[in-house]
Point group: C2
């Protein structure tokens, strides 16, 4: 069956969105739709222009025999700002305040629509770098890790605090937690990563950066490279931070448990160049 | 700016895919694209036919003033079979065998592309039911829960084994783990669910069903209703199962630790009517 252009555009858009960061040969589409390569090229120009116009992402065309087309999810600056504003407005409600100055964020981490946008914002910052794996620590960072992974099309590995039989052989390290200065343990399945891989680390919350630093040590233990760090909320604090090369969307400036007020501001995403990369 | 049909089709496809299970008024699209409602209706017919033809999902049109269009993710029978076959082939490798007859599955749970398809397969089985929340227990079920949630557009709540300050006030229950007959604890933040909600429970692995049964008790504690259960892999066993109304994609029939062989077969997804609902 020969497809009409209108049908091809709908199906092609779906296919590209479901296969981010993957080079798709033009012959794949021309065989699927029983259409000439020249028609497919024209289709792709329409998809490309609309994706760019609407801030959906970028279509990169690689010429030659081994060439094809690749969809790179990249949000517009406006979308990043919208996500940051929404997070600040959501997190500022006084009923989120928990004993010890913590903020309740579990509902936001469980919101698939918001997490999808957060994931795309972070994926945009790393879309032109080589990333092989997204790493996080159980439990709360997992939804962010998967949201980023979906847009970069790479696997997620989850570091645990305990050793479970279902993980097989593991590598474990001890590290000092940032604020409480306690010795803690991190465990990762040996099969999770191969040496030489580039790892993007993510978590929902960072204070001094002890957990992030622990994951950095674990990455070195696997002979892998830390490619970047993405944090949803960073907290202001007086100690020296253990890590510095990270992106955050929101900064928690101050929590007043007596007045029940929460001061938040934009994180370092833009100032660190998250949007320009 | 007035949009061309071809551009509208690309953008509309993206918008619908990003907003599953949400009723979108036709005026939204006609204002966005500065186009007549009749043109939008024609566009939607093309999208609808292509989605159905290609097994992407269903577009439901609701007539009247409060009406609009809703995208319901629903995979074709062929896609369900492909996902099941891929899981069986992946899980059958003898190097997945762990001490105690467990299977290493962490890599599959961390594969965003596979999890997206698994999520869509389970979402298809529940797409015409009212589901308010997806529930799972930390840690390994979280990626499946989020994959289903994305297609049903509902929040995920994660049951924990421990009580963390960041969860706020919690409800905890004790339950008997299925195979080891030990007393275990489950904890869920009080803010996670409102009474009367319909909950879909999911997990990566089920043997006797103790954990599933525990979550069922927790749901009752919140005055909510168990709407269904979705399990990636169920294991054959001799004890009577504690739950019965579940869907599984794969059944682990037998593990021979001496010969290092793993026997797997299709789960109950089709026989329980997962595809017909």
């Amino acid at each position: 069956m020969k497809w009409k252009r209108s049908e091809r555009l709908v199906d092609m858009t779906h296919y590209l969105l479901e296969h981010p960061q993957k080079l798709i040969p033009l012959t794949f589409f021309s065989e699927l739709y029983q259409s000439a390569k020249s028609s497919i090229s024209e289709d792709l120009t329409i998809v490309k222009d609309t994706f760019e116009e609407r801030g959906i992402g970028v279509l990169v065309t690689v010429p030659g025999a081994a060439g094809g087309v690749k969809y790179i999810p990249k949000v517009s600056e406006k979308v990043v700002k919208e996500v940051i504003d929404e997070l600040i407005s959501e997190l500022g409600h006084s009923d989120r305040l928990l004993p010890g100055g913590y903020l309740f964020m579990t509902d936001l981490l469980g919101n698939p629509e918001l997490m999808n946008r957060v994931g795309k914002v972070f994926a945009s910052a790393f879309c032109s770098q080589e990333i092989d794996v997204i790493m996080t620590v159980a439990t709360k960072g997992i939804s962010i890790a998967h949201a980023i992974a979906r847009h970069l099309n790479v696997p997620v590995v989850v570091v645990r605090r305990d050793n479970k039989v279902t993980e097989g052989s593991t590598v474990s390290i001890n590290y000092v937690s940032g604020s409480s200065r306690r010795i803690e343990t991190m465990v990762l399945s040996k099969r999770s990563m191969k040496s030489g891989q580039r790892v993007l680390v993510t978590d929902d919350f960072m204070k001094v950066g002890g957990t992030m630093n622990g994951m950095k040590n674990l990455i070195e233990e696997f002979d892998c490279t830390l490619a970047g760090m993405a944090v949803l909320v960073e907290a202001a604090h007086t100690d020296e931070r253990l890590v510095d090369n990270y992106y955050s969307l929101v900064k928690l400036k101050e929590v007043n448990e007596k007045d029940r007020t929460i001061k938040l501001e934009e994180g370092n995403y833009f100032s660190k160049g998250g949007y320009d990369r």
